[in-house]
Amino acid sequence: MHKFKLIFIIVTSPIFLYSQKNDFNKNSALRPTQNINVLQTASDYALIINGLFYLKRTHEETKAYHEWVNTLCKIGEVYMQWGIAEKAVEYYQMAKDTLPLDYQGAPLQLNLLQSLAIAYKKLHQNDHAIINYEAILSIFPTQLSKDQELNILNELLELYNLEDKFFNALGAGNQLLSLFQNKSDSIGATRTYNYMGTIYKKLDNLDAAKIHFVKALKYYPKNSRVTEGKSVILLNLGIIYQSKGDFKQALKCFQEALSIQIANNNEEETARIYTYIAANYLATRAYESCISYAQKAIDISKKYQYLDILQAAYELMWQCHEYQKDLESALMAFKDHVQIKDKIHLQKIKEQAQMDKKLQEAEKLEMRINTLLSENELKVTDLNKEKLERENKEMELYLLKRELELANYQSRQKELLQEKEIDRLVLLEQTITAQAREKQLAFQIQKKQLENKDKQRKLDELKQKNRISQLQLFHNELQIKNQRWLQIVMLMAFVILAIVVYLLFNRYYLKQKAQKQFLHFQNIEIEQRLLRSQMNPHFIFNALNSIQYYITSQDNASAARYLSKFSLLIRSILESSRHQYIFLKDELKLLKLYLELEQLRFSGQFVFDITIDETIDTEEISIPPMIIQPYVENAIIHGVVMLNHQGKITIHYQKTDDFIKCTILDNGIGREAAGKIRKTNNPKHQSIATELTKHRLDLLNKTPNRVYDVTIIDLYDHNQIASGTEVSVSIPYIVH
């Protein structure tokens, strides 16, 4: 709430001042001195100050020095009234500086200097106060009234004393005394004598001090109801007598003072005087009296906790007791003395702590004010910015807004005026800030405006620079991006290319592999078929030739038989060649048919026998067709047919775990003999049956996990003469 008010005043006061100058200032500010007396709240002070500020400004503009200085003085006066000596000094000093050197306006200047001196004195800047008082005395040696002169000299006396300028003080005192004597002002003289006495006492001039104190007593008005001062002078005089060793006179003085204080019921002073008396008795070695007086002092002091007096009294007590050799009592008193001393010390520390605390609080307060100020500054800055923006954008809107603010302010102002119960400290804050704000605002607004402009310009420059640098950066970034982009693109392109290549290659490879495999198996299949159908063309044509023979020899029945048998064989071969595997039963049928045809062809030069293991179910097991045909053919053509007698071919099937083992046994001429015959023939013309079969078996071997082989054993009789050939063929089979 306070903060808000503060801000409000700060923000709105300049506006208000400019807009409301005519009515308000005329009413309230033009007679500030009249108004000062009725000032009660901070807002009153603020209003007056604001009004005076307006006046000040006006006079400043019109070069009306007198009015201007007057206004400045009034401002200072208001501040003094307000208790803000610092500000008062500022304005008084401003007024003093504003006055031309040859200014001849006694009352104004006199008042100004006096005000300055008073303000400085209040600020404890005694030397400055002294300078101003001295200035008054030197500038206006004759124009001063007696009262004024007395007043100034009194002030000077005090100030000199405070500043330890004792001789100056004594000079002033003497001037005062002469004035008092002329004026026969006994009270003033008494006071001056007393004062001078204390100064002499400080200067250790006890005789002079004694004379002045005595004179002070002498001039002390008789029958005066105010006896307090007399007591003080008597005490001072007593102390002087005491110091001079005139204890009798001292005691006299003390007792006179004591009677005065007792009469006045001033307990503290009474107690104090008791200690003085006690001390006096101690000095005269009247221990009993000393103790009794000290006790009196103690009794009173204990009651009212006059610690310093207690301390002094106890000190006297233990000294007395010591002198009396009453060490026990002395010790007790000493203890008490020390206790009190400690207590005082503690109190001092406490006081110090309190002081520190107060200082800290003050500092805190200051800090708070500062933060408030800075916050306000920020707000004001924001507002100013807004304002500037608005000005730039919409002047009309701004004006409207200002009017609105004005209206707000007026209502707020009324509220403020009605408020009677506001904490003084807060008020102080508010007004300090308000004033500071006003000044700072005026300054800041200008400064800010300038700064803003400057900033704006700098900002513009910076913006432009920024834009340029941004553009450059953007350009660079773009370039970098482009480069990077290019790199990325290239990299990606490369990666993609690599992937594509890899995929293509992989696909190609797989395809190729698959195709290869496919082709491979197809090849196997095709070759198998080819090989199967290639079943010795020589046999086929020979068979056909035989049939032709039956026809041409007009043996129609034989021709028909032969032809049907042959076509049955061909049909079976064609059919079986369509399958990779045929039932063993069908294979056996085929084999039998073939053998019969060969028997026909070679006119029964051999007989054959086909046997099968009982374990083999010919309708269950399948084998590749006509695998053994070439071996059988070999057995016929190169074996049994060569014999001069009838040969025999025995074919036996047996089953192992993996194969059907087929053994073709012939009692022919043997491979050696057959080989000899073949050798005489063109080697290229010899039978390729075994080669074909081996090739076919090899192909079957190439199908997974199967190995088929052919073993050929040359047989010999007991005379080591070739007696045939035994061929064993391992044939893969399938069980259905």
Binding site: F541, S546, F602, I637, K684
Partner: protein, 243 residues
């Protein structure tokens, strides 16, 4: 005119089949003897002098070529008979020797009959020599020119050029025109040495001087520049590297 003939064949069915076929389709051949093998055949030939010998190639104790080598003076016309023997047939064609395929084609018997009339003795002897020379490797090619059958060494054949149904054979020193299509010779000329670079050109590798890939031509040592068919270019280059 009746031609005396013997049949040498190890299979009884084979001999009987030929005999009954001759009896049925061609009565000009009189069978004066039969043999069932190389050695029995040789013995038979010593005892009788037939005009024609029908000789089987594959027999249990040898081949027809073996028998030819055994006899010193051939004064008979030779006709090979075979059920199926690819290589032998090539040799017959190459050497321009007559042959019959079993079962016997009656028309080929009649054709054979016509040829028998023309044949001279010297021709028969030469035929035998050439056949034996070609038995293992095709070296001498018999070509039926307008002047009759002539034999040429294959190693001297530069190229063959097709000319509709005729084929001109360009040897290193001569040129021969044959009334057979190029395709027939392409089939029998050894494929290791000969390549058909064009519809009209069959060339021997060793006579290739230069291959001009840019305008697809092949220059031969005899100076001719032959067109290389674009479709056969790759195959040709491949063949060149393998041959």
């Amino acid at each position: 005119m009746i031609f005396s003939a013997i049949i040498i064949d190890d299979e009884e069915f084979g001999r009987n089949a030929l005999k009954s076929s001759l009896k049925m389709f061609c009565q000009s051949f009189e069978i004066i003897g039969e043999a069932d093998g190389v050695y029995s055949g040789e013995r038979l030939l010593q005892t009788c002098k037939p005009d024609v010998v029908f000789l089987d190639i594959r027999m249990k104790d040898g081949t027809g070529f073996d028998l030819l080598q055994l006899i010193s003076n051939q004064d008979f016309s030779l006709v090979f008979t075979t059920a199926y023997d690819e290589y032998a047939i090539k040799a017959f064609k190459f050497s321009a020797v007559d042959y019959l395929l079993k079962p016997i084609d009656p028309e080929s018997l009649i054709e054979l009959e016509k040829k028998m009339v023309k044949s001279s003795h010297s021709y028969l002897t030469k035929q035998k020599e050439i056949l034996l020379e070609n038995k293992d490797e095709l070296q001498i090619i018999g070509l039926h020119t307008f002047e009759g059958l002539s034999y040429f060494r294959v190693e001297e054949l530069v190229r063959c050029e097709a000319n509709s149904n005729y084929t001109s054979f360009h040897f290193t020193d001569k040129k021969v025109l044959v009334s057979k299509p190029l395709k027939e010779y392409e089939e029998i000329l050894p494929e290791n040495n000969f390549f058909r670079i064009h519809k009209s050109h069959l060339i021997q590798q060793k006579f290739i001087k230069k291959i001009n890939k840019s305008n697809s031509t092949v220059e031969m040592y005899d100076g001719t520049i032959l067109e290389l068919a674009r479709r056969r270019k790759d195959l040709f280059i491949d063949w060149m590297s393998h041959a």
